[in-house]
């Protein structure tokens, strides 16, 4: 029974990490309604397995990113034709969405850490993860009001600023970067070289007088 309980718990964690919690809610037993009571919620878990399962959200975007990097680094000749541009663009967009979800997870992870066991955060910083796809957050009142808050030490402010700036910049650059690496480029490809000879001397071909 304990095994099934743990499996169920890990499945719940995985589905939540991948944003597929709705699958779990299809089971009527998991709905909270008139005839069932709300379970006690666990605020903090101290379990490496659960923590790693929650980090599964990074698998797809990191995997695809590394694949794109390796593909271009090792070079790959596609040929004289490529698929319709639309396939590459949609693929890059889907990759961008997964990267942004991954970065949002990192930002929320930092926020929850500070809220739960840190010094806390100003109210304006709580919603940064929701705006991961809006680069304008970097020059918004919410962020700079939080930076200007007197409730945080300088070190905490710098840490918060670093995490948010890095994640937001990466979120903005992820889409174009993925598109650049995913769409094959029309270019000249080195195709060998050879020494050849002509049975005449340089003086025969290019005399000066």
């Amino acid at each position: 029974m304990r095994f099934w309980s743990k499996l169920k718990d890990n499945t719940t964690t995985t589905l939540r990490a991948l944003g597929l919690n709705i699958i779990r809610s299809l089971n009527p037993q998991n709905l909270i309604g008139k005839k069932s009571e709300e379970r006690v919620k666990i605020a903090i878990r101290h379990s490496r397995t659960t923590a790693v399962l929650r980090a599964l959200i990074h698998v797809i975007p990191v995997g695809v990113s590394l694949w794109e990097v390796v593909l271009n680094w090792n070079t790959y000749y596609v040929g004289s034709f490529k698929y319709n541009q639309i396939y590459y663009q949609f693929g890059a967009k889907a990759h961008e969405i997964t990267i942004q979800a991954s970065l949002a997870t990192i930002v929320f992870s930092y926020i929850r850490h500070e809220m739960a066991i840190g010094q806390g955060l100003p109210f304006g910083a709580l919603f940064s993860g929701l705006q991961i796809n809006q680069i304008s957050y970097l020059w918004s009142m919410e962020l700079w009001g939080s930076i200007g808050s007197k409730s945080l030490t300088i070190r905490r402010k710098l840490a918060m600023l670093a995490v948010i700036v890095v994640c937001f910049v990466l979120a903005a650059a992820a889409g174009p970067s993925s598109a650049i690496l995913l769409i094959p480029r029309l270019d000249y490809w080195p195709a060998g070289s050879a020494h050849v000879w002509v049975n005449a001397s340089a003086d025969d071909i290019w005399p000066q007088r």
């Binding site: 929650r54 990074h58 070079t75 990466l170 050849v196 000066q208």
Partner: protein, 491 residues
């Protein structure tokens, strides 16, 4: 270049076809250019918009190559007054060296056969036959002729005219090195600086062999101490007899030319698409700092003069800027030069006469003869120089590999190895041979890191991967997780 190696039959040419081994071979192509240059756009547009657009190039053949032959006129600075331009526009021409173009095309054809089923390096990707176009280039150790012809017309005042002839200067030479020899010649209708040649007086031109009804020519080897940067001089006494006694226009007219030819370092390339090989083309090798500086200097000067930008030196397939480019000057001998102007028995005249009459047409103005002579002379000299070494041929034994049923195939992967040893020759036999490197590229779609954008994209994605993996490691090491509460519906 004393003419001793040229077959004797090259002193005579056919009207429509000619041998490919003579210096004057395919002079008909120059004729085609002159005809096209006369009427390249509809007459109405030419009149209305004041346009005259000659073709950029015509094409000459080799044994198995098609070569691009280019002409261009340039505004020339006046060396006696650098704030002015000369009234004449010298003509520059160039074409690819025939024997090298043939070797390059042969290499390209063999490459197409060898590479057909080879794959990209390390087996990454599609076979190379799947490409849009293949380009083969020789970029080092290759030279081709660049010829500048500057011609002006002048007069002979009968048999008592003891004035020495005066050759127009090469306007692209740095005459700061020889200021004293330049002058405006007294009584000359040319109106541009020239250098007098004391060994020939004008009256002697009336005794040149040939019929006065045709143009009579003379090639002159000019002394280099006086005519620096001149390969050979040329004079043609025009088939006219002016009885007009207006000063400067009595007696005969003649055209006198300065020809400066040199070997310029260039790159030559050809391309093939689906086994159809295109014409060769070439670009000037602007690796020399001096050439690049001269090019920029000329552009800057043209802008300050208020010239239209397109009149500046912008064509990198043609350059002329002594002493920088072409860097190797050629001294042309009279005995070799005479084969540039063979006799055409069918018309009982010479090639030069035929071309002059075609290009000038019904006009009798001597200045048009001078303008046409620049194109013709530059073209004939360039064509002749480009055919030197015509009996040379591509050499080299390719690497092969056995195939099924005892067949033999060219080993394409050996060509891709970048060891440049696909062809082999006998070391002793080839010690004096010209050796060149042919670099091949194909155009197609590929994943690579060429350029800035893929490198920047890789940097961003790797930064993301590092950040994400750091987060995973932190979660795995600390084991801490902050549980997101359920969203629930309460009653």
């Amino acid at each position: 270049m004393d003419g001793s190696s040229i077959p004797h039959h090259c002193s005579v040419s056919q009207l429509y076809t000619s041998s490919t081994v003579c210096p004057s071979s395919e002079w008909q192509t120059i004729q085609n250019y002159l005809v096209l240059a006369e009427r390249a756009v509809p007459w109405s547009l030419e009149k209305e918009l004041n346009l005259l657009i000659p073709p950029n190039a015509v094409y000459m053949t080799g044994f198995n190559s098609l070569r691009q032959f280019q002409f261009q006129t340039w505004l020339a600075p006046n060396p006696l007054d650098t704030n002015e331009f000369l009234t004449v526009q010298p003509v520059i021409s160039t074409t690819q060296q025939s024997v090298i173009a043939d070797a390059l095309v042969t290499t390209g054809a063999l490459w197409s056969q060898a590479i057909n089923y080879a794959h990209a390096a390390k087996g990454h990707g599609s076979p190379f036959f799947d490409q849009q176009v293949a380009v083969h280039t020789i970029s080092t150790g290759y030279y081709q002729p660049y010829t500048l012809a500057t011609c002006v017309n002048d007069t002979i005042r009968g048999r008592n005219d003891q004035r020495p002839v005066a050759f127009p200067i090469n306007p692209f030479y740095d005459y700061a090195l020889q200021p004293n020899s330049l002058q405006y010649v007294n009584g000359s209708v040319a109106g541009i600086p020239a250098i007098e040649y004391p060994s020939l007086v004008r009256a002697e031109l009336l005794d040149l062999p040939g019929s006065p009804l045709n143009g009579r020519v003379k090639w002159i080897e000019l002394p280099q101490d006086l005519f620096n940067s001149t390969s050979i001089g040329f004079i043609i006494v025009l088939p006219q007899d002016f009885t007009d006694t207006t000063e400067g226009r009595s007696g005969y007219d003649y055209v006198i030319c300065n020809v400066d030819a040199g070997w310029g370092s260039s790159s030559i390339k050809t391309s093939s698409n689906e086994n159809i090989i295109s014409a060769t083309s070439s670009l000037v090798s602007l690796r020399s700092y001096n050439v690049a500086a001269a090019y920029k200097s000329q552009q800057a000067k043209n802008r300050t003069q208020g010239m239209n930008y397109y009149e500046a030196v912008t064509d990198l397939s043609l350059q002329f800027g002594r002493p920088d480019y072409p860097s190797i000057q050629i001294e042309i001998g009279q005995e070799w030069a005479k084969y540039l102007n063979p006799v055409v028995h069918a018309l009982n005249t010479t090639v030069m006469d035929i071309l002059l009459k075609i290009s000038v047409g019904m006009s009798s103005e001597p200045k048009y003869y001078a303008i046409s002579a620049q194109f013709i002379l530059s073209g004939l000299v360039t064509n002749g120089l480009a055919r030197l070494g015509f009996d040379g041929m591509f050499q080299g034994t390719p690497k092969t590999k056995p195939g099924p049923n005892g067949t033999v195939y060219l080993d394409g992967h050996a060509w891709l190895s970048d060891k440049n040893d696909f062809f082999t020759v006998d070391t002793n036999q080839s010690k004096d041979w010209v050796k060149l490197q042919v670099d091949s590229t194909i155009e197609g779609y590929a994943y690579n890191t060429y350029g800035v954008s893929p490198k920047v994209a890789i940097a961003f994605l790797l930064m993301y991967c590092v950040l994400a993996l750091t987060h995973v490691l932190y979660a795995g090491i600390s084991g801490e997780l902050h549980y997101q509460p359920y969203l629930c519906r309460r009653h």
